[in-house]
C-alpha cells in the first residue's frame, strides 16, 4: 500500500498502478481512451483521459503516476465539454461513411461518439481523401478514417519489431506511412494484422473474403468444403452469445452445415500431420551437427518475417507446410476426381494466412489449394447473415474421412502448443504421468519467451518457445551472435499464439489467456492425446500420402530449392 488518491470523492488505494488511468479504472470508472493499451508504451495523444485536479488544472491520466493525497475529478462540466470537443474535432476530418465501413459496429470512435451523444459537427472536413491501400493480401488501409492515435505504429514497432509504418510529415499533413509511401505489400509488413486488431477505427482492417465465400457456397454447381483452425473454436464465442474460451466447435460445425458447406473438417488433422512430419524432421536434424536450431514453420507471419528479414535462416526452418496448407493439399487431392467444381475454404484466426494461401509455392496446377481464407470475424458475420441462431443449434461432429483429431493438434493454437505436441510425439511413454510431465516441461504459459531443456533418449534437447515477432527477432539476434543456443525453436508471430491472432474478435490480454486455456481444456477431453495415436494418420500414410509426403506436406520457400528436405 502506497497511500490513497481521491477520485470523484472516493478514496482509492494505490498499489502498483503504473498511472492514474489504471487507478481510475480500478475504481470502476471507465474513462474513454483511443491511444492507451497496457501492453504498449504511453503516447498521450488522444487527450480523452484528461482529469481535473483540485486547483482546476488538467492532467492526462494515462501519463501521470498516481500520487498519494492527490484529488481529482473525472467528470466535470469542463471535462465533458473538452471530451465532446475532441470527438467533434476527430470526427470533423473523419470519413463518416460508417454504414459501409469494415469496422461498422466494432469501431471505438463510433461507439465513444455515440456514448457522448455527438450529433452535430461544427467544423468542416478539410482533409483530402486518399486512395485506400489494398496492396496487402491481409489488411486494408483507408487513411480517411485515421485519427493518428499511433496505436498501429507502436504495436508494429514495440511488440512486433517489424517497423513497417511510422508517422510521416508533420502538422496537418501528418499521416501513418511506410518509408517513402510504398504500398504495404512492398514494405517490411509481414501481414500479422496486429495493427488492424488494435486500430480503434476502420483505418486499418482485416481483408474480408465473405462475399467470395457466399458466391461459391450458393452456386449449385460447386461443392464447398471447409476447415476450421483450432483457435477459432475458443475465440468466436462472445459475439454469438457464448463464452470466450469455451469450445464452440460443435456449434460452428452445425452452423456451417446449415449454411450449405458440403463437408466440414478440422484443421487439427493438418496439425497432427505436421507433428508427424516435424518430429521426424527434428530427429534427423539433431542427429547431425548443427550450429542453429530447427525453427518451426506453422506461422505464416513468421515465414514472411524470415523471408523479408532473415532469408539466411531458411535452411534452418522446418520444411513442413503449415497445418492449413497440409490439410488443403490433402483435401484437394481427395476431391480431385469428384466431377464437380470443388472449392476449399479455411476459417482462420490469422490475417497472414490470407497471403499464405495465395503463395505460389502452394499452388497446384496454378491454383491455390485453399481458395478462400475466412477470418474468425468473417465467420461471425457469415453466421449472422445466414440468419442462423447460434444459441438454438445442437453441436455436431466434423466429417469423415478426416473426422478424428488429437489433443496435441488442438493445442497448436496457443504459444507452446506446437512444442508440446512434438514433445508428446518424441516421448515413447504414452502414460498419463508422462503426458503430465511433458505439459510441465516449461512450454505452457503466455510469456513471450520460454527457454527450457528436456531429455530425449539420454540427450538434452534445448528448446525455446517464443511468441510476438519482437521477442522472436531478439531471440534470432541472440542465436546468430552465439549468445544463446538451442536445438528447437517454436515461433508464433502473435503474442500468445494463434488464439490472439488478428482475425479473432479483439480481446484484451486477460481474455486472450482465457482462450488459450480453453484449448488446453479441449485437449483434456480428447481420448487421443498424441498425434501419432490418431488412427486416421495410418490410413492416410498408407493411402493418399503414400510416396507423396514430400509433395503434399513439405514446401521450400526459396527458389533454388535448397530449403527443406
Amino acid at each position: 500500500m502506497k497511500g490513497y488518491m481521491t477520485i470523484d470523492d472516493i478514496p482509492v488505494e494505490i498499489h502498483d498502478e503504473r498511472n492514474m488511468l489504471e487507478l481510475i479504472r480500478k475504481a470502476g470508472i471507465e474513462l474513454p481512451t483511443f491511444c492507451y493499451y497496457t501492453e504498449l508504451s504511453i503516447h498521450g495523444a488522444c487527450r480523452m483521459c484528461l482529469v481535473e485536479n483540485e486547483k482546476g488544472g488538467l492532467e492526462a491520466a494515462c501519463s501521470e503516476p498516481p500520487k498519494p493525497g492527490h484529488k481529482i475529478r473525472t467528470n466535470t462540466a469542463r471535462l465533458r465539454k473538452y471530451r465532446k470537443n475532441i470527438l467533434e474535432l476527430l470526427l470533423s476530418n473523419h470519413n463518416r461513411d460508417c454504414t459501409i465501413c469494415n469496422k461498422n459496429g466494432e469501431c471505438r470512435l463510433q461507439s465513444i461518439a455515440n456514448k457522448f451523444g455527438i450529433k452535430n459537427i461544427r467544423y468542416i472536413n478539410t482533409s483530402y481523401t486518399p486512395e485506400p491501400d489494398e496492396s496487402s493480401a491481409s489488411i486494408s488501409i483507408d487513411r480517411s478514417k485515421c485519427i493518428l492515435c499511433g496505436d498501429c505504429i507502436r504495436v508494429c514497432n514495440e511488440i512486433q519489431n517489424v517497423g513497417a509504418i511510422d508517422f510521416a510529415f508533420r502538422g496537418s499533413h501528418m499521416k501513418v506511412a511506410t518509408a517513402f509511401g510504398v504500398p504495404m505489400a512492398d514494405s517490411p509488413c509481414v501481414g500479422c494484422g496486429q495493427c488492424a486488431a488494435i486500430c480503434p477505427t476502420g483505418a486499418i482492417s482485416v481483408k474480408n473474403s465473405l462475399e467470395a465465400v457466399w458466391t461459391d457456397l450458393l452456386d449449385k454447381t460447386t461443392e464447398v468444403t471447409v476447415q476450421i483452425a483450432p483457435a477459432v473454436r475458443v475465440g468466436i464465442g462472445k459475439h454469438l452469445g457464448f463464452e470466450d474460451g469455451k469450445n464452440a466447435m460443435g456449434l460452428i460445425v452445425a452452423a456451417l452445415r446449415r449454411m450449405g458447406f458440403a463437408k466440414v473438417f478440422d484443421t487439427t488433422l493438418g496439425a497432427d500431420l505436421t507433428v508427424q512430419e516435424e518430429s521426424r524432421e527434428f530427429l534427423e536434424y539433431v542427429s547431425k551437427p548443427h550450429d542453429l536450431p530447427l525453427f518451426t514453420s506453422c506461422c505464416p507471419a513468421w515465414i514472411n518475417y524470415v523471408e523479408k528479414r532473415h532469408p539466411d535462416l531458411f535452411p534452418h526452418v522446418s520444411s513442413c507446410k503449415s497445418p492449413m496448407q497440409m490439410f488443403g493439399a490433402l483435401v484437394k487431392e481427395y476431391y480431385k476426381d469428384n466431377g464437380k467444381r470443388h472449392v476449399h475454404v479455411a476459417i482462420m484466426p490469422c490475417t497472414a494466412k490470407k497471403y499464405e494461401a495465395v503463395r505460389p509455392q502452394f499452388a497446384k496446377d496454378g491454383k491455390p489449394v485453399v481458395d478462400h481464407v475466412l477470418s474468425t470475424q468473417g465467420l461471425i458475420h457469415m453466421i449472422e447473415q445466414s440468419g442462423t441462431r447460434f444459441d438454438t443449434l445442437e453441436p455436431e461432429a466434423v466429417d469423415n474421412p478426416f473426422g478424428i483429431v488429437s489433443g496435441a493438434g488442438v493445442i497448436f493454437g496457443v504459444t507452446g502448443g506446437v512444442t508440446e505436441a512434438v514433445l508428446r510425439a518424441l516421448s515413447e511413454d504414452a502414460s498419463n504421468a508422462a503426458l503430465l510431465a511433458t505439459s510441465m516441461a516449461g512450454e505452457r504459459g503466455m510469456e513471450g519467451l520460454k527457454e527450457f531443456e528436456v531429455e530425449h533418449k539420454g540427450e538434452t534437447v534445448r528448446v525455446a518457445v517464443v511468441s510476438g515477432l519482437g521477442n522472436a527477432g531478439r531471440l534470432v539476434d541472440d542465436i546468430k551472435s552465439g549468445k544463446k543456443s538451442f536445438d528447437f525453436v517454436e515461433v508464433m508471430a502473435c503474442p500468445g499464439g494463434c488464439v490472439c491472432g488478428a482475425s479473432q474478435p479483439y480481446a484484451p490480454p486477460d481474455v486472450k489467456e482465457i482462450r488459450g486455456k480453453g484449448l488446453y481444456s479441449i485437449d483434456k477431453l480428447m481420448s487421443c492425446k498424441r498425434s501419432g495415436d490418431n488412427p486416421i494418420l495410418e490410413d492416410l500414410n498408407e493411402g493418399i500420402l503414400k510416396g507423396r509426403e514430400h509433395e503434399l506436406l513439405h514446401v521450400s520457400y526459396v527458389s533454388d530449392g535448397k530449403h527443406g528436405a
Binding site: N157, D166, F169, R170, T178, A179, F180
Partner: protein, 163 residues
C-alpha cells in the same frame, strides 16, 4: 557532380557515431551536407546499422523541414519570409526569383539542378531585411531587381559555386 551514391561514405558517417540510433539526426545532417539531400539508397544501410526502421528514419526526414528527399540545386537560395522580411516585401523577391528560374508551382529546384529556391521562416537577421542567402552567404536589403542581378551574376559564375 556526385550522381552515384557512395554507400561507403554513409558507412563512415555511421561509424563516426558508432551506429547509435540516438545520433540519427546528426548522421542525416552529415549525409545531407554531402549530397545536399537524403538519397533513398542510404535508408536501408542506416536502418540495418542503427536498428531503426526505414519508416522511422523516413518519419524524421519528413518531419524536419531542413531535410530534403529530393535532389537540390548546386546553388541554394533561401528567401527569408519572417515577419520583418515579410512586411518589407520579401514575397515579390521570391516571386521574381521563381519567375526568372521558370519554377512551376510546388517545384523548388530547376530541372537542370542548378538552383533551389526555398522560403525560410526567419534567418535571424531581421536588421538586414528583406534578406536572402545564396549558398550560405547573406545578401541584405534585397529588392526584386537586386535579386535578378544576383541570379545573373551566379549564371555568369561571378560568385564561386558551392561557397
Amino acid at each position: 557532380m556526385e550522381n552515384a551514391i557512395d554507400l561507403d561514405f554513409t558507412r563512415n558517417v555511421i561509424d563516426e557515431f558508432n551506429g547509435a540510433p540516438s545520433a540519427i539526426i546528426a548522421m542525416l545532417q552529415e549525409i545531407q551536407e554531402k549530397y545536399r539531400y537524403l538519397p533513398k539508397e542510404i535508408f536501408p544501410v542506416l536502418s540495418r546499422t542503427t536498428g531503426l526502421s526505414e519508416a522511422r528514419i523516413y518519419s524524421l526526414a519528413t518531419f524536419y523541414e531542413n531535410f530534403s528527399l529530393e535532389p537540390k540545386g548546386r546553388n541554394i537560395i533561401k528567401v527569408c519570409d519572417g515577419t520583418a522580411c515579410h512586411v518589407r516585401k520579401s514575397l515579390p523577391i521570391l516571386e521574381r526569383l521563381r519567375a526568372e528560374l521558370r519554377l512551376p508551382q510546388g517545384v523548388v529546384t530547376t530541372g537542370d539542378l542548378e538552383f533551389t529556391v526555398e522560403v525560410v521562416a526567419c534567418l535571424g537577421a531581421c536588421g538586414l531585411s528583406p534578406v536572402l542567402t545564396l549558398n550560405g552567404k547573406a545578401y541584405p536589403a534585397m529588392t526584386p531587381d537586386k535579386a535578378s542581378n544576383l541570379l545573373r551574376s551566379v549564371k555568369e559564375s561571378e560568385v564561386p559555386r558551392d561557397a
